[in-house]
Amino acid sequence: MKKNKSKTNRLYCLISALALWMAAVNSVADASAIAVLYPEVRAPYDRIFNDILKGIEQGSKARVRAYALKTDDSQGKVVACLRQSGSSAVISLGSHGKAIADGLPSDFKVIVGASILSDDNVAQGQAGISLSPAPGKLFAKLKELTPSVNTVNVIYHPHTNTWLVALAKSQAVKYNLKVVATPAANVRDAAALYKSLLGENVNGESAIWLLQGDPTLDERSLLPTILNSAWNNNHVVFSSNPSHVKRGALFSLFPDNIRMGESLSGKIQRVMAGDDLDVDPLEDLLIAVNIRTAEHLALNISRAQAREFNLVFPIK
């Protein structure tokens, strides 16, 4: 199914257009079919979407039709394909899928996934699962690895991650954590805030949480500075972005793509049943840990604990 999908889709759309032009018959409508729009990306990135699709298929009672989107596929073309196939429920994956889904007519039931969702998406009342890990899951792991931490500092962009920070504050209580969230308008402001945070003597009682896709976190210059200072001052830094773990953050949670697909499938079925859903953070997660950083922080991680980690850095 996955390998010849784009070619099959092109053929399908061609036949569909011909059928419409001839206006001979109505489409073979199948209102219960779920359409999945996902971007056509090269290997090995395609595996991410293949796994999500697998999860959607596993979790779905309805028929699933997958559409690999090319960057030049127009809204109209996609809508025509959807109409022709009779799909009224759409799961859009990735930012391209989301962009297409944003403009779909209102009679389509839509869930967005596999992209980073912001305050705007929340305000628009979109339903979906963000790539951002659920704060509660992050905090649970934080307490497990560093029990002495009682404060989580987070610097965030107020027009992007306010929804997530609000959620974090509410979920932190369960873990006896206090979230100190400071908005920053841009990278420069954030850099000053991080400098101030990292200059404090925290005695292992506070940690810094790096958000995923936040515009105030510059990956090229600011991130290495944060991680270097954190190392020198024995600060705990954890992240919503697994690639930060490779670079020295203590741990991160990252998507379990198959299970994420199953969750998306569950959500679209609820939407099809008439439920009104919001944006949720990602609950289907795996863990990446930097053992070198853990050793530096004198954290006692047993082999049994380490076996539970899905990714361990550094890798030879």
Binding site: K70, S95, P242, P314
Partner: protein
């Protein structure tokens, strides 16, 4: 050097940047997962490799594919400080590491999935090795320096561990074919999947080739023809490297159990430049290697205890039909005899190796991971057969072959070696102690008891210091041993190479200082310095094997990997070594004094990858008494272009090796029976297609 760099850059940009945005990964994905390597591990298609307190290199299946390598030897040449040379007979590889070079190369341990692929006769990979294909290789881990505290015998100059693919690394059914120079044809089929809770991986690779056909201009027989008044020599003549091979592997896993089975068959393998210094177009080798491994690995055996048990069986057969001198040889003018049919020897050896090992991790002590284990190995050279038409006597002017009249089965009367059994029992203990934040100390010791030469104790110590956020430093010491081979112990009926049952193992003590520095997320570099002392080197001195030699060496290896842009990765290494033979007070011969390797992986377009590599080998000196000028330096360049799923999901590749058709020679044995050394392949090409179904 500048020319080299220019060559790399030239090849990298030859086709010009042509990045299309049509199917580049989305920004969000790039931000989340970073590079392709990260995606592969995060999506579970790549096995993680634990950190080892050693100087190690890892080459992955992706590296292998992109560099266009078709055989293990082409992969290993990319490892810092490792040079792949060849011996004349069969062009079997000599993995030269840090100046340690010998004809049969028993000082390097080759493992397949952690289990030795060693033939006990010469301590090498068998006389009919004939290469190892790469399609089923998941990764190759190379540890330079001693590893006997972990692996036992022969992990001396280095250890090469070839890890084959499991079911998670093969997407369903994969097939491929390739064809290229020297009438080389390859085909492979792989399957990865699950059935009844069993993870199944199957692989079969077949190869047929005429082999590279460079010319040997003169050989030993050429030199003998002159005073003998004959013209028997086949030189000038082409090398004989034709072969057919089949490699099949099955990997089954369920719960804590894993079963691995392998078969490597070799047929009609050419004798290269001849086993005795004379071209041998009529000779051939046939062989097989069979393995069966049963592994039980229970991570939760008991509280604080992990348990692993391995039972393995390895069967190796090497059958040779050799013309040690070609038909028409006549030494009567030299006081010898005539051999109108040539000097014919057909030695066959058969070995069975049965091994059992039980090991356990104990994690009940805070800050300590303790590993203990014990094992038993039974090495049985159960059959030695030989037929030949000569025997050798020593005369005042040297060894002389005497005719037997015809080819006679001498297996019972005067075989070259003996049917012998060696038993090895061993114990090991290792502790990784996290003695302070940023400091860990790994200490290990292994005791091996050999039924033939007794016991040997080999320790190692590794101190690892996470010096700064960017810098990791390691101080390492290890002792290793190389067990005498059966040829060195039990050779008989050959007056020029007599075995000695009283041999001790060769030993080496190595000290290393290693640094790893991460300049940025895009650039990392490693540097290590080493010093070693070899003792009791086993040599035939002059005709009986003895522990006679010592060698010392020092050097460094520097490497880097740099993701210059999202589309261009450069990596390379430089190795320097200076080793001295203590007996002759001269440089250790044949090993490169310096090596430079540079590689560029260029993502021309989302589905197009161009790889170019340059390999520069320098400073190979001759042995004492070999009056030939030093072996010539050389620079080779290879280019590989790969297109993924451009047509019906088919992947295509085209590779050119030795693009500039450089004259490349590996040293022949002193004093130079093959005077002009051993030529390597000139320019060659391979075209390949593959598809995942």
């Amino acid at each position: 050097m500048i020319k080299l760099l220019l060559k790399v850059v030239f090849v990298s940009v030859l086709f010009g940047p042509n990045i299309s945005s049509a199917d580049t990964p989305e920004e969000g994905l790039l931000s989340l997962y970073g590079d392709e390597n990260f995606v592969s591990i995060a999506t579970g298609r790549k096995q993680l490799i634990s950190r080892a307190p050693a100087v190690a290199s890892v080459i992955t299946a992706k590296d292998i594919r992109e560099m266009g390598a078709k055989d293990l030897d082409e992969v290993l040449e990319a490892v810092p400080g490792l040079h792949v040379s060849v011996k004349a007979g069969g062009y079997n590889p000599i993995y030269t590491i840090r100046g340690i070079h010998s004809e049969f190369n028993p000082q390097v341990l080759v493992l397949i999935n952690g289990l030795p692929a060693t033939s006990v006769l010469f301590g090498d990979r068998g006389q009919v090795w004939a290469g190892m294909p790469v399609e089923n290789i998941s990764r190759v881990e190379v540890i330079r320096g001693p590893g006997s505290a972990i692996f036992g015998a022969d992990a001396f100059a280095g250890t090469i561990n070839v890890i084959t693919k499991t079911s998670v690394e093969i997407d369903g059914v994969e097939t491929g074919v390739s064809a290229g120079s020297f009438d080389t044809k390859r085909a492979w089929l792989q399957y990865g999947g699950e059935s009844n809770d069993w993870e199944i991986a199957f692989s079969m690779e077949v190869l047929s080739t005429d082999g590279q056909d460079e010319e040997i201009s003169s050989d030993l027989q050429s030199a003998l023809d002159v005073p003998s008044g004959t013209s028997a020599s086949q030189a000038p003549g082409e090398l004989n490297l034709e072969r057919k091979s089949i490699d099949a592997r099955l990997d089954l896993a369920k719960d804590n159990w894993r079963i691995r089975m392998g078969y490597q068959g070799r047929k009609d393998a050419g004798i290269g430049a001849g086993a005795n210094g004379s071209l041998d177009p009529l000779g051939e080798g046939n062989g097989r290697r069979i393995n069966f491994d049963l592994i039980y690995d229970d991570k939760d055996f008991a509280e604080n205890w992990e348990l692993k048990g391995t039972l393995s069986y390895f069967d190796v057969a090497n059958k040779l039909n050799l013309f040690l001198s070609p038909p028409g040889s006549d030494f009567t003018a030299l006081g010898g005899f005539a051999f109108p049919d040539g000097i014919i020897g057909n030695p066959d050896t058969y070995e069975r190796h049965t091994r059992f090992e039980l090991s356990s991790f104990f994690t009940g002590f805070e800050n300590h991971d303790v590993r203990i284990g014990a094992g038993y190995s039974h090495q049985d050279q159960y059959k030695v057969e030989e037929s030949k038409n000569f025997f050798v006597v020593l005369t005042p002017s040297g060894p002389a072959p005497v005719p037997l009249g015809s080819v006679v089965d001498v297996s019972e009367t005067m075989p070259f070696n003996q049917e012998k059994v060696r038993e090895i029992r061993y114990l090991f203990l290792q502790d990784e102690w996290r003695l302070a934040p940023d400091w860990s100390l790994t200490g290990g010791v292994r005791y091996d008891h050999y039924s033939d030469f007794g016991g040997t104790v080999n320790p190692r110590v590794a101190l690892v210091w996470n010096t700064t956020y960017r810098l990791t430093s390691k101080l390492l010491y290890g002792r290793a041993f190389r067990a005498p081979s059966f040829a060195e112990q039990f050779n008989i009926n050959n007056p020029v190479a007599v075995g000695n049952e009283d041999l001790d193992p060769e030993t080496i003590n190595t000290y290393e200082l290693a640094f790893d520095y991460v300049f940025s997320n895009e650039l990392r570099s490693g540097l290590n310095l080493f010093y070693y002392e070899m003792q009791d080197i086993i040599r035939f001195n002059p005709t009986v094997a003895d522990n006679t030699g010592d060698q010392r060496g020092h050097g460094l290896e520097w490497e880097f990997e740099w993701d210059t842009t999202d589309n261009l990765t450069l990596l390379g290494n430089y190795a320097y070594q200076k080793s001295e033979d203590e007996d002759s007070n001269s440089d250790a011969p044949n090993a490169p004094g310096q090596q430079v390797y540079l590689r560029a992986d260029y993502q021309l377009a989302p589905k197009w990858v161009l790889n170019s590599q340059v390999n520069w080998v320098m400073g190979r000196e001759r042995a004492v008494g070999d009056t030939r000028s030093d072996v010539g330096d050389y620079t080779t360049m290879d280019v590989s272009l790969r297109a993924k799923e451009v047509f019906l999901g088919i992947e295509m590749a085209f590779s050119l090796r030795n693009l500039t058709d450089e004259d490349v020679f590996e040293p022949s044995l002193a004093p130079g029976n093959i005077p002009n050394d051993l030529p390597q392949a000139g320019r060659s090409f391979t075209a390949e297609i593959r598809k995942i179904w």
